[in-house]
């Protein structure tokens, strides 16, 4: 029995080897049966994500949920923070503030909001204490302040711990599962099988120890030639992640590589070639294979087709679509080509200067764009029709002229179920009137 709980990338083998229906699925990873029933389950939740680089607010208070199995599109002009959002989720950056939950586990947390809260509370209480003259009252206020600060400090501590150790706990959980599974087996095993069983147990324990939760999220990059190591063969590129996860069996690795290559439309012979021997579309396929071989539950596709020719774009989009259906992937699709995003995504979030300005199901967004920036963005899409193009007017977005946020600050509000817009009360009413 070679099957284990954590190497979910061995599902096919498990079914062939697992025999008498052993529960071969890791914790939190629903079996195919449960997945269908939990269609609305939130896979990734981003809460008030902020990512500052010095004084630049690359991402500023962005929140959204991604449900299991859906494609969430993120659009916006270059420099609006959509790529940074993707990279923050996969923990390529340490986020400044906010929380990221993946499968209910907090994988990323920032501390700035708590620190700000402490600062704010201190200033507030200082003023309050000055106005109050009674010493007993003052002491009471001071105690309150101390309590608030202590609370926030505890939050900071928890956030720091989660940011650093979320994977550790996950790995421990996995190890425990392996132990639980093997303990009875080892105890009951006859002497002759004990040695092989012991070896399998050790192997699985090693893999469980090396498993990381974040590897369930994989990324596909924009420029395929820049994201593949020119000195590694395709085999090495694709199998690298598995090796890091503790897989040592050469046959298993090769099997996984060949299977992946065939899945993305390449052939086995390509495994021993280098990336420069491929065309742009083929390179992007290798990038996709590298991501999918880890059996991720979620893929962050950062402009996967923008660097490709139109005809190749169609091939790659079709491939992603097939893989998504076949493997039940959840995809965060970051792109600036709105036609492609519309074609590919279920829901779309529009970003502008680090803020999410509108979030809606894709048909709804294109039918009823509400935020002026979304309208401006939609009016800029070129269509393959000369007559229409001659009359197309691009709407310009001028934030200063469009909004008056001097009194009433804006926030994300739900105009109609599923359709959120970043607006203040006056605009909220205006938008609701439009939709009616």
């Amino acid at each position: 029995m070679d099957n284990n709980c954590n190497s979910s990338n061995r599902q096919e083998e498990q079914t062939s080897q697992g025999g008498a229906g052993a529960p071969a699925y890791a914790a939190g990873q629903p079996t195919p049966e449960t997945a269908t029933t939990e269609e609305d389950q939130v896979l990734l939740r981003v809460e008030h994500l902020c990512q500052y680089f010095g004084s630049t607010k690359a991402v500023d208070d962005v929140s959204f949920d991604i449900k299991k199995g859906e494609v969430f599109g993120l659009v916006g002009e270059s420099g609006c923070g959509k790529t940074t959002t993707g990279r923050s989720i996969i923990k390529l950056y340490d986020i400044t503030s906010g929380n990221i939950y993946f499968k209910g586990i907090r994988i990323g947390a920032g501390t700035k909001s708590y620190k700000d809260e402490i600062r704010r509370a201190r200033a507030e209480y200082k003023e309050k204490i000055q106005t109050v003259t009674d010493p007993a009252e003052q002491e009471k206020l001071r105690a309150e302040l101390r309590r608030t600060v202590a609370e926030q400090r505890a939050q900071i501590k928890a956030a720091r711990y989660d940011q650093k150790n979320c994977d550790k706990e996950y790995a421990q959980e996995q190890q425990q599962k392996v132990q639980e599974k093997y303990a009875p087996l080892l105890a009951n095993a006859p002497e002759s099988q004990r040695a092989t069983l012991q070896a399998a147990y050790k192997d699985e324990m090693r893999k469980a120890r090396k498993t990381r939760l974040v590897t369930k999220i994989q990324m596909i990059f924009q420029d395929p030639s820049a994201s593949l190591d020119p000195r590694m063969t395709v085999r090495e590129i694709i199998s690298e992640g598995l090796i890091i996860q503790g897989e040592r069996n050469r046959q298993v690795l090769d099997g996984a590589v060949y299977e992946m290559l065939e899945k993305v439309g390449l052939v086995r012979e390509h495994a021993s070639r280098y990336q420069h021997e491929f065309s742009g579309g083929q390179r992007q396929r290798i990038g996709i294979a590298r991501a999918v071989v880890m059996r991720p539950e979620m893929i962050i596709a950062d402009e996967p087709v923008s660097a490709l020719d139109v005809s190749i774009q169609a091939q790659v989009i079709n491939l992603l679509n097939d893989l998504r259906k076949e493997l039940g992937l959840t995809i965060l699709f970051i792109a600036h080509d709105l036609s492609v995003v519309k074609y590919f995504s279920d829901r779309i979030g529009v970003m502008y200067f680090g803020k999410m300005v509108e979030l809606a199901p894709s048909d709804e967004l294109f039918l009823n764009p509400l935020h002026p920036y979304t309208r401006s963005l939609l009016s800029a899409i070129p269509l393959p029709d000369p007559e229409y193009e001659k009359n197309r007017k691009r709407i310009e977005y001028k934030p200063l002229a469009e909004h008056d946020y001097s009194v009433d600050k804006p926030s994300m509000r739900e105009i109609k179920p599923g359709h959120f817009v970043h607006c203040n009360q006056a605009e909220f009413e205006k938008y609701q009137a439009i939709l009616k």
């Binding site: 002009e77 065309s279 679509n321 080509d337 074609y343 070129p382 000369p386 007559e387 009359n391």
Partner: protein, 721 residues
């Protein structure tokens, strides 16, 4: 008929590589008209970039130009020397590359990169204008004297020409001063509009700096042209504004300041709206009357000055010019009649089955001389047919006689190899090499092309002679004066560093870069992708080119920026009468831009037509595939991806290159290359499907659906308006 700017014929380019000869471009033909956008669409490796690089003369070192010609301004760009190319590249033909970073120098500030070309070209332009002006005036003077215009003596006429020369500069001085003031007013007005708006919103930044700048601009504008009484009010307002700034900065209400600024703006706007003075007449008045400009409203001033100029000089001069033009044109016509006769006579030499080398070159020499004699020095636009005839025919002749030597050898080699191959096959072996088809020059075709070239000139001249009767010499005389004016302004238009900076900043504004003054001193890495591309466009436009080649300028940019850049290119094209070659792989982009579209595949143009032809009535399967493989906002079904990859151009396919990826391919597609079939006068496609014997094939559903959908959308758009 439109004026053809660039003519590419039978261009064939290959590259030497370690693996063999890659045939990148295989005999393409196209024309670029003045003021149009020609889009070249195709996948990477289809040869579109190679074509554009050949036009600019920047092909890689291993490129071999096997055949063809690129005619620009009467010169074959493939044959001129590098020194001559320096005058054209960047100046007349500019290019915008896909990756802006690779065309910017990373360690030089943006400002320097923008002004470098301006300063360098400024001198060259000045020199050119001066030579144009002087030569033309000399020709004109000569023609006037010869024609004996109005019965005046040579001395009087020479004096007249010199008189024109003299006051021409004065008017430019006046105009420059006026323009400076006018621009200052316009700039101040625009700044004011922004500032007032921002003050209302309480979001004004750099207040004192901007106010100072506006005041300075307003003062500049006052000096020359605002009506005197208004000028006093304006200056008064400007003085009052200054003290208000610190209070506003401290947080006081900005209402008072806004009021003053609005007052300034109103005066400036009024001034901007005034009619432009007639500087030409003013210049004459100032130079020859010896009196200062009289004070009166602009309209009246214009009338008086005009009258003075006409009476004193211009009517006379125009009459003389007209006579000179008529004389020169008559002479040219006589020469043309002679040339046509000569061409008809010598045409017989080229009609023979096999040509005689000595005879041909002798005929060429005589014909070239006759044709060159027909040049009318007083024609402002140069007749490219006349200028290209000699070199073009010589080129074709060389090809013919070169081919004559080459053909027997090549034929011999081919036969030998074929024998060897057949022998191997007969033995039952499978040779791992292929017989390379013989590279034979089709001598008959070359000879026909020579005759065609001669006929072209004969036709052209016959038509010119017909038109000669109806020529409007009055209008032409005015055009001549305008031409001289334009060149004279080129002579005094000196580009100093300061001016270049101002122009660069204006260009940066024009291409949509905010805060150009601050940006001017930054390095390329401080810019975002879209901004960099704008800088590159600004640099390309700095030299005021004739032809702009855009090689995928928006591929790396997002939708809004892409849309802005496309609008920018379109606008600049209109304003500057540019001809644009737009290279892209995205058909969606070119619907907006292109007047005509050429679809390229594997080094050949497979379809060629107006934008409407290509988008609504496309005929080639490759165009269909391109159209159906991109999603639009209403696509829900699976995309029709084109299977496979483009062919390896070291071994170009025998038949239609697209056949292996084409689901409509027929047997003949794999055997023979399809010729260009004519669909309409503007629309051509190279596919066997258009052959009368071919089965009738409809375009794929995705394409027809989209056309129907777009039609519906268009109607909605119309109703919406």
């Amino acid at each position: 008929m439109m004026e053809s700017k660039l003519h590419v014929e039978n261009l064939t380019i290959s590259f030497h590589t370690v693996d063999g000869k890659v045939q990148a471009v295989r005999g393409i033909n196209f024309d670029l008209q003045k003021g149009e956008t020609l889009a070249i669409v195709g996948e990477s490796g289809s040869g579109k970039s190679v074509t554009s690089k050949a036009i600019l003369g920047i092909l890689a070192g291993n490129a071999i130009i096997e055949d063809g010609e690129i005619i620009y301004d009467g010169k074959d760009l493939l044959k001129i020397s590098e020194e001559e190319f320096h005058k054209i590249r960047g100046d007349k033909i500019a290019m915008i590359f896909q990756d802006p970073m690779s065309s910017l120098n990373p360690i030089v500030k943006i400002g320097r990169q923008l002004t470098e070309a301006m300063i360098l070209k400024g001198k060259a332009r000045q020199k050119e204008s001066r030579s144009n002006f002087n030569t033309y005036l000399a020709h004109l003077q000569e023609a006037m004297i010869q024609s004996g215009a109005c019965g005046e003596g040579a001395g009087v006429l020479t004096d007249k020409c010199h008189r024109f020369d003299k006051f021409e500069y004065k008017h430019l001085e006046l105009e420059a001063a006026y323009n400076k003031a006018h621009e200052a007013a316009a700039e101040a007005s625009a700044e004011l509009e922004d500032l007032i708006f921002e003050l209302e919103k309480n979001a004004a930044k750099d207040l004192s700096f901007r106010i100072r700048r506006i005041c300075r601009l307003a003062e500049t504008s006052v000096q020359t042209y605002v009506v005197q009484e208004k000028a006093q009010i304006l200056l008064g307002l400007v003085k009052e504004v200054g003290p208000l700034v610190p209070t506003v900065k401290r947080g006081a209400d900005s209402a008072a300041l806004r009021e003053k600024l609005t007052g300034i703006k109103a005066i400036l706007d009024e001034a901007i709206g005034f009619v432009m003075p007639n500087f030409f007449a003013l210049g004459y008045y100032v130079t020859f009357s010896g009196q200062p400009i009289p004070q009166m409203p602009v309209e009246e001033l214009n009338r008086t000055m005009r009258k003075y100029l006409d009476e004193q000089f211009m009517l006379d001069f125009l009459a003389d010019t007209r006579e000179a033009l008529r004389f020169s044109s008559d002479r040219s016509c006589k020469e043309k009649i002679e040339a046509v006769e000569c061409l008809k006579k010598y045409r017989a030499v080229f009609e023979k089955q096999s040509l005689d080398k000595a005879e041909c070159f002798k005929a060429l020499k005589i014909m070239t001389k006759e044709v060159m004699d027909t040049v009318d020095p007083l024609d402002i636009t140069r007749d490219s047919v006349t200028y290209t005839f000699g070199p073009g025919l010589e080129n074709t002749l060389n090809k013919y006689f070169g081919g004559l030597v080459q053909n027997p050898k090549e034929q011999h080699r081919y036969e030998k190899e074929l024998q060897k191959y057949d022998a191997l096959v007969a033995k039952g072996k499978e040779p791992d090499w292929k017989v390379v088809a013989p590279a034979l020059t089709d001598l008959d075709a070359v000879r026909r092309s020579m005759l065609h070239q001669i006929d072209l000139v004969i036709d052209h001249y016959s038509r010119a002679l017909e038109r000669h009767q109806a020529r409007d010499f009055d209008a032409d005389a005015v055009a001549v004066v305008d031409y001289l004016k334009a060149n004279a302004s080129g002579v005094v238009h000196k580009v100093t560093k300061r001016m270049a900076k101002e122009r660069a900043i204006k260009l940066m504004q024009e291409v949509g870069i905010s805060e150009p003054r601050k940006r001017y001193n930054q390095y390329p890495f401080e810019f975002s992708g879209g901004m960099r591309q704008r800088i590159v466009i600004a640099i390309a436009l700095a030299a005021d080119p004739d032809i702009l080649i855009c090689d995928e300028p928006t591929t790396a940019l997002d939708v809004t920026i892409q849309s802005q850049i496309l609008e920018l290119i379109n606008r600049l094209k209109e304003e500057r009468h540019l001809s644009v070659i737009f290279i892209t792989h995205d058909l969606g982009v070119v619907a907006n831009m292109a007047d005509r579209i050429a679809v390229m595949y594997a080094g050949k143009i497979v379809e060629y037509g107006t934008a409407e032809d290509i988008f609504y009535h496309s005929a080639h399967p490759y165009t269909w595939a391109l159209l159906s493989s991109m999603p639009d906002l209403d696509t829900n079904e699976k995309l029709d991806a084109i299977p496979g990859t483009p062919p390896n151009m070291i071994y170009p396919p025998v038949g239609d290159a697209f056949a292996p990826r084409n689901k409509y391919a027929m047997k003949i597609d794999f055997e023979r290359q399809p010729p260009m079939f004519r669909i309409s006068d503007t629309h051509y496609a190279a596919t066997w499907l258009l052959h009368p014997d071919a089965p009738k094939v409809d375009p794929p559903k995705a394409v027809t659906d989209r056309i129907a959908r777009m039609k519906q959308k268009r109607e909605e758009q119309k109703n919406g308006q």
